[in-house]
Symmetry: C2
Subunit: 185 residues, 2 copies
């Protein structure tokens, strides 16, 4: 059966990111991704519903991690402390993902409809975080405001991480929350 190869899923992700960079997202086909990964189209569709999902499949895991961390935070924290702590919980999820995250960001930056989808995912993360804060008894508008500021700080910190300012995503996000403290002092 030939030499060992990484799993089909990883090869599909790698092939898709290569082709998005070479040919652009619109021009890339599922057939092309499958061919580059050395698998059938049917195998592609066992892992992803379409080519866009290759870029967004992590969103649900990320959101579940943040929402769970908000729900299980100690009761005596302020809403912003709860949110800041929740984004520290995502570190393990991104631990080995910097090369992927960079190539993913490049693909999204090159395509307006992907940018719009990314923004919608972040808005959904904000709404889910606000609901989790309300579950803890945080009233409105504090819940929505804290949740959306959390998404903003996360995004800015995440871009620092992608930009190579530090290899540790948790540290990049924590520093951005510290920056928020300085701004609002």
């Amino acid at each position: 059966m030939g030499r060992w190869k990484p799993g089909a899923r990883e090869r599909l992700v790698g092939a898709a990111l290569e082709l998005f960079a070479e040919d652009g997202f619109e021009q890339t086909t599922v057939a092309g991704i499958a061919q580059r990964a050395g698998v059938t189209e049917r195998t592609f569709f066992r892992h992803f519903t379409d080519k866009r999902e290759v870029l967004f499949e992590g969103s649900a895991t990320l959101q579940a991690t943040v929402v769970d961390a908000i729900a299980s935070a100690p009761p005596d924290l302020t809403p912003l402390e709860v949110v800041a702590g929740a984004y520290e919980a995502i570190g393990p999820f991104f631990a080995d993902r910097l090369p992927f995250a960079r190539r993913r960001a490049a693909a999204i930056a090159a395509n307006t409809s992907l940018q719009e989808r990314e923004l919608l995912k972040l808005a959904t993360l904000g709404a889910a975080s606000a609901a989790a804060l309300r579950e803890r008894g945080v009233p409105e508008p504090a819940a929505t405001l804290a949740a959306e500021i959390g998404v903003t700080v996360f995004s800015v910190g995440f871009r620092k991480w992608i930009g190579g300012q530090d290899d540790d995503v948790t540290k990049c996000i924590r520093e951005t929350f510290d920056e928020l403290d300085t701004l609002t002092a």
Copy 2:
């Protein structure tokens, strides 16, 4: 020539919002909007490039107002004070627009691609605000963070206004900035 009618542009906007509510954005055609407004399609295209622009034509004016206000703010303000002041400058723009803003928000809420476009417009407003802050000498990441928090607070305050909590959009936004102060105290 018949009785006096409001301007073609206003009638087109009103007709478009009616049809978006009745039939949905996707099903509505420019021909249908023009017919409802009692003008030709050609007249529609003298005012708007497509049906989506009826909803987003104010974005450029809003952004220019915010950016100009950031640029001309007194020099001794903090970045967040500059941004909070800039969103107070948009009051006159929205003064008579509450009925429009409500119908517009309903149309956008009913359509994912319109939500995505709205989020992209807000992201563009954030990026333009950050650039205006950098022009004032605010370093990064403070400029981006203050600009994006400004967009977040504006959005939350704007939704309060749409939701009918107060007729004064400036007051709704100012109260949300006050809420931010409380959250971060």
